[in-house]
Amino acid sequence: MQAGLMDTYRRPLQKRGAVAWVLCAALVTFYLLVYYTDAFEGPARRLGLGDKWTLYGVLYTLAMVAGGIYFLRRHGNSRYQRVRTITVVAVQVVLAFALPIVMKVLGRQEYYFSYFWPLKIEYFYPSVILQQPFLIVIYSFLGSLVAFPLVGYFLGKRFYCSWICGCGGLANTAGDPFRHLSDKSPEAWRFEKASIYTVLGIAVVTTVIVGLNWAVGRQHPSFSSFAFGVQRWYGLVVGGFFSGVLGVGLYPLMGTRVWCRFACPMAAVLGLVQKFGRFRITVKKDMCIACGNCSTYCEMGIDVRAYAMANEDVKRAACVGCGMCAHVCPRGVLRLENRPLRWKAGQPIRVYAVDL
């Protein structure tokens, strides 16, 4: 449960005040420079960090560590939030930052063990994955095609989106002050459903084209140049612009999960699995007082309150299981659970009296 009150809307940075627009512009500029220019190559070398991507990794990891400390001070009284936050920061520090650097130092091809296809689309590109040792190829394919659907079925997409993934990790640490800015409107929900599955479709098609090119590209040079174009554009538009420039740049204006909610192909796959899986947010019957804390602090823009008022468990493909709706609920109405069925007596409360 939440300890103390938040003064979110008393802070200009957190209510889309001028300073929030300035921060947004700064983040967008930073990402444009990182992704599309070499402006950070110089500073990276001067700092002894090799290239701009290593510098970016250092900054990203520092932001998550500092943000994680901020988050734990705010919500660390809950063991779920404590364990989750420490886990997602540790995964970033070890698997997504330290290990790839160690691999590079040891003269091996770097590999990010916490990222999988389709989020990391190149891990299904034959030219990329076949440079890795056989065990890593197996790890990558089993992870994407077997482990993810299976674990997602039993635990919900949160196991990845809120416990492992670096995008979700940044959102839930450094991004926490902005989580309430997500758009809760029905229009946003409609847009989200259209956009996220479109991007998933594009990711699958891109993977197939690149795979085909690896197999038959040599015989068909025109197809080959088309495939390279597709691969390049996917990287520039989806990998760079959506996930970086918009995904993080819009934190101060549209909340923390713009990329996860509207575009991430991994979230799309796991959401479909979750819809048919065991994870749900259980709603305690007839106990909601409609205050709206849950909906306000849902970073995925889910109107949790509407479910709580209707006594309906929340089973939404979008939910990343961060647990904040349950955490901020002042009446303990919500609980994240992985269970095949509701407790049997889960009908609306019968009317009876204690006869004494």
């Binding site: 938040m6 364990v83 029905p186 019957k285 804390n293 009296a353």
Partner: protein, 441 residues
């Protein structure tokens, strides 16, 4: 058919939605001078704190009224003529109806103390109250919050969070005896004091002190009846810049005085089991309706949950469905600063209005335990062998499960063996355990 609903709170809105579900054609008018949209009054404290905006406390999108063709009259009603089937507004307009639901709710009980009227006096029930308190509550000021109920503790929390120095004045010998026993209340007081609230128990406000210009300067306290210890002379004067009166609410029925509707002594609208008032084609629901409780007494139920249920029943009754309102087994929830509270079933009140102990009756026993060193307790009320009620503080509990055990007449031993199954805390929270050698009284 023209349905008019006076009151745009949870009772009125639930009734309007239920009416529209059953009757797509009817004209439905909602009357309120407070706000254009239905909002959750229970969330006022979060708006004050900055945790939410008023917009966030509105459960429905703003297109709802248009979509469901709810007409709005943004005026305060000044009178009702049940024979002529019309309402009179303060602006002297009239509004006719075929069937009328009065869901006018409560207003704050006015401060009764000498010198109370004037600047610096606040209540915390409506959006206007919120605006007034928000304007004047500046960090560093001293505030006295009077009234040991739920609004009192919420106001103490939000003022403290804003950086005011808060004195919490409670007439009863322990906080919230309507719901808590002495051990539980002591724990809550300990928790409030740990946050820095100056909690004063067993004291009355005798007088509100004002300076030469009428400016609020403080309150003078006196011993409440049966106070455990007389007030120390230097503790009687509490200097303050703000005074928040949270000593309960009264039905908002002043405008019905000349209507001929039968009202209770406290001003609540007398209704039958179908929530019909004493005049034809008039119904009442929520805080303003005098209903029969499980123990046979007639009182208003000033709760979110019951207002919601009564609004639905009133709508069915207005549609001629023969619906009746029958109070189910009691359950409720609250939060005292960081301590969540769940109660279910029958938990007898142990202290009356004048601080005299109340006998719960023969054969009533409590099982109680508090986790050592933590703000966390469970109380199970038994009548003989049978469990009849729960009072749970600190953790989260599934009231459905607790009510089910009461309903199926479970024994204390059974309930203690299964209590952990009713835990509703966030995942990874420690499992509830019975303390070794837990004392039972």
């Amino acid at each position: 058919m023209h349905y008019v609903i006076v009151g745009n709170g949870v009772g009125g809105m639930e009734a309007a939605l239920a009416l529209r579900r059953q009757d797509g054609e009817a004209r439905i008018t909602l009357v309120s001078d407070e706000h254009d949209h239905f909002y959750s009054r229970t969330a006022l404290m979060y708006v004050f704190a900055g945790q939410m905006r008023v917009r966030d406390t509105e459960p429905y999108d703003r297109g709802l009224y248009e979509r469901l063709r709810f007409e709005r009259v943004r005026e305060r009603m000044a009178g009702l003529d049940p024979q002529g089937k019309s309402l009179r507004s303060e602006g002297a307009g009239t509004l006719g109806y075929d069937r009328l639901l009065l869901a006018v709710g409560s207003r704050a009980r006015p401060a009764p103390w000498p010198g109370a009227a004037g600047s610096g006096l606040h209540y915390f029930v409506t959006l206007r109250d919120l605006e007034g308190l928000d304007r004047e509550a500046r960090p560093g000021l001293r505030a006295a919050v009077v009234g040991g109920g739920l609004i009192g503790v919420e106001v103490a929390e939000i003022l403290l969070a804003r950086g005011l120095k808060v004195t919490f004045v409670v007439r009863e010998n322990w906080y919230f005896p309507l719901a808590l026993d002495e051990r539980e209340a002591r724990m809550v007081a300990e928790h409030l004091r740990a946050h820095g609230v100056d909690v004063r128990l067993g004291v009355n406000v005798e007088e509100v002190r004002r300076g030469p210009e009428g400016a609020l300067t403080g309150v003078r306290l006196g011993d409440a009846p049966r106070a455990p210890a007389p007030l120390a002379p230097d503790a009687a004067e509490v200097p303050c810049d703000l005074l928040v009166c949270a000593i309960g609410v009264v039905p908002n029925t002043g405008f019905l005085a000349t209507s001929g509707l039968r009202l209770s002594k406290g001003g609540a609208i007398e209704v039958d089991e179908a929530l019909r008032a004493s005049a034809a084609d008039v119904w009442a629901a929520g805080d303003c309706a005098n209903v029969t409780w499980a123990d046979g007494t007639r009182r208003p139920e000033q709760l979110w949950y019951t207002a919601r249920d009564q609004g639905r029943v009133a709508a069915a009754s207005m549609l001629g469905d023969g619906a009746t309102y029958r109070r189910g087994t009691w359950y409720n929830s609250a939060k005292f600063f960081d301590l969540e509270y769940t109660t279910a079933g029958w938990v007898p009140v142990r202290l009356d209005w004048d601080n005299a102990p109340l006998d719960p009756g023969p054969d009533v026993n409590d099982w109680f335990q508090r986790s050592p060193g933590r703000f966390d307790s469970q109380r199970i009320v038994c009548k003989g062998e049978r469990v009849v009620g729960f009072n749970m503080l600190g953790g989260r509990w599934n009231h459905e499960r607790l009510l089910d055990w009461i309903d199926s007449r479970r024994t204390l031993r059974f309930v203690l063996d299964h209590l952990a199954e009713a835990q509703f805390d966030e995942e990874l929270s420690p499992r509830w355990r019975r303390q070794p050698a837990a004392p039972s009284t």
